[in-house]
Amino acid sequence: MPKLPLLRLAHARSGDKGDTVNVGVIAIRPEDYPLLVERLTVEAVKEHFRGLVHGPVERFELPNLHALNFLLHNALGGGGTLSLMTDAQGKTFSSAMLRMEIDVPDEVYRRVTGEG
């Protein structure tokens, strides 16, 4: 099955709450939302953020908005003012999420890339 970076299928925004980052992932095309629900499992996202996120991952579905919300715990070096990270507010975890490589059906690959 061909792969696409999530960047081609979704956009995202992230923010912080203490030491937890939230990443909202939104399907660019509503028809791709079910594929995101299927591929962006808690396990897959936890694996993707290995080394950056040290705690559990939670996932919530927002089908009306074609969006998934992830909570990534223990991700900000203590969070808020305690954090020594450049990105202490987790603002760039959204684009880090979009690095993820997703297996996609052929027809999705063709539609998104205009190839084949």
């Binding site: 956009h11 925004r13 030491d19 939230n22 909202g24 953020f49 290995r50 950056l52 969006a67 919300n69």
Partner: protein, 514 residues
């Protein structure tokens, strides 16, 4: 909710009664309906809620504009909101989680300070327009010194020639700094919501403590004719939905409409982040961000609303820009908790109904909980950040070598830190290990080393170990024009919950005329 009245200590009771006696007859106090069993609560509920006078209830839409997403946002945004098109209300969010502690420090140095100072010249500038166009302002600008903020605004109004034309409403009661000992003594542990630790662990280091309060006292201020409503630590979203409750006469148990108001508030509270700023979707195509229009909510009495911005401004209002803001800082979307309602963000429906117009409908809500969130800040040590820039060739390798030398020096000096963190800006400062191996042949990279410790001394010593690397470390290094790094005091955030029955009976609204 358990009613604790009979078990309360005498100190608290007399204090509460004092406040009640002082309360003016038209003043309203807001208590959650499940408080009913006490006589006092019944009495309080018997006083009318917002818009007892049906003649003031609107049957048209109202426009609530966002003018400030945080203290430090674009200074002229509120001026543009007032002057470039019609609005009825302007909301300004000045408070981040630790802003209160900064303000507390400012007040301890100068008793006339302790509020968002930028708010006062802004009011001087726009109040004449507000009076002329009947625009009312809601701002959590009062910080920890509400009377000083009120006086400064009244003064600004008079200087602008608005004697007798401006009323300033102030909501008191969110600040519980002076009540902490008493609350702890009566068994409120104020445990940290994230770590579970009791507040007694850091009590001697607490710098500020404020409860997040809801919309009802702001509604009262509007009812009593306030042109400007100033609060301390109010819930950000309430600055947007209080005008809706006021204008449309929504009942305290009209949860679906209140939840819609919360969604509108969430869209408004981060300024241009809902209208194309920081938007990842098609970011290159978003026009004129130098003149970005901040969001405006056109709210209808039935709880539906349209997100838009003034004609002729830059930015974009699309399902994409609005959705990105909706998911920002989201927890469990089914449970967006505010003091007035629990909103279910999974019920939101969006529809593009015109250029830069997105309609929001379908929002459902549930009764609020019997707790309010409390924002406590406490002193948690010191930190500093040192940076140096290394140039091609071998920029990353040089920066890594410098980091090793620095760490070895800190070790030799016997300095102990709670944490030392190294990042290489240009490689891994944002995405960490997800960024992969160092970029081959990088033209330049910035070494960024940060330390944190409970004591000031090792952090201070660290700041003197950065510059020596220029003459003692790897070559082609620069970027030290800014001088030695500054030692910063760490003021950390301690989120907790408290029974609303401890806060809401103490809330008080005062309205003064310029």
């Amino acid at each position: 909710m358990t009613v604790e009245e009979p078990a309360r200590g005498s100190a608290r009771r007399s204090r509460g009664e004092n406040i009640l006696i002082r309360r003016s007859p038209e003043s309203n106090v807001f208590v959650h309906v499940t408080d009913l069993p006490t006589r006092r609560a019944r009495h309080i509920l018997a006083t009318p809620y917002a818009n007892a006078d049906p003649s003031t209830i609107m049957d048209r839409t109202i426009r609530i504009a966002s003018g400030q997403g945080f203290w430090g946002d674009r200074l002229d945004a509120p001026v543009e909101q007032v002057r470039r098109g019609p609005i009825d209300y302007l909301m300004l969010d000045y408070l981040a989680e630790v802003t209160m502690s900064i303000l507390q420090k400012q007040r301890s140095r100068d008793p006339a300070q302790g509020y968002a100072r930028d708010f006062v010249p802004l009011m001087g500038e726009i109040l004449p327009d507000c009076v002329e166009k009947n625009i009312r302002v809601l701002a959590n600008a009062g910080g920890v010194n509400l009377p000083a903020c009120r006086d400064a605004v009244l003064d600004a109004a008079r200087k602008a020639g608005l004697h007798g034309k401006v009323r300033v409403g102030v909501v008191y009661g969110d600040d519980i700094m002076d009540r902490l000992e008493d609350l702890l003594a009566r068994g409120h542990e104020l445990r940290n919501m994230d770590t579970g630790r009791p507040l007694t662990d850091v009590l001697d280091r607490v710098q500020s403590a404020n409860a997040y309060i809801g919309a009802r006292p702001m509604v009262e201020a509007l009812q009593r004719g306030a042109t400007v409503v100033i609060t301390g630590r109010s819930t950000d979203t309430a600055l947007t939905y209080a005008p809706m409750i006021h204008a449309f006469g929504w009942a305290p148990d009209d949860y679906d409409r209140l939840a819609a108001g919360v969604v509108a508030g969430h869209i408004n509270e981060c300024g241009a982040q809902a209208t194309g700023g920081n938007c990842l979707l098609d970011w290159q195509s978003i026009p004129d961000l130098d003149d970005v229009g901040f969001p405006i909510i056109e709210a209808a009495p039935d709880g539906t609303f349209v997100v838009t911005k003034h004609d002729g401004t830059g930015g974009r209002v699309s399902i994409g820009t609005v959705t990105e803001q909706l998911v920002y800082e989201m927890g469990d979307p089914r449970e967006y908790i505010t003091p007035d309602v629990v909103a279910d963000f999974t019920t939101i429906r969006l529809e593009q109904v015109g250029p830069d117009r997105v309609r929001v409908h379908g929002v459902k809500g549930r009764p609020p909980t019997d707790k309010l969130k409390v924002s406590i800040s406490y002193s948690a040590g010191y930190k500093a950040v040192g940076t140096l820039v290394y140039a091609w060739p071998d920029a990353v390798e040089k920066a890594m070598a410098a980091d090793r030398i620095l760490r070895s020096r800190l070790e030799r000096l016997g300095l102990r830190f709670d944490e030392i963190r190294t990042e290489f800006v240009g490689w891994n400062a944002t995405h960490g290990p997800l960024a992969g191996p160092p970029p081959a042949d990088a033209p330049e990279v910035q070494l960024r080393v940060a330390v944190r410790a409970a004591d000031r001394a090792p952090v201070e010593r660290f700041t003197r170990e950065i510059a020596p690397l220029i003459l003692t470390g790897p070559p082609s290094v620069t970027g030290f024009a800014g001088g030695r790094p500054k030692v910063e005091e760490v003021v950390a955030f301690w989120p907790a919950l408290i029974d609303r029955s401890e806060i809401e009976p103490m809330l008080r609204v005062e309205v003064s005329e310029a």
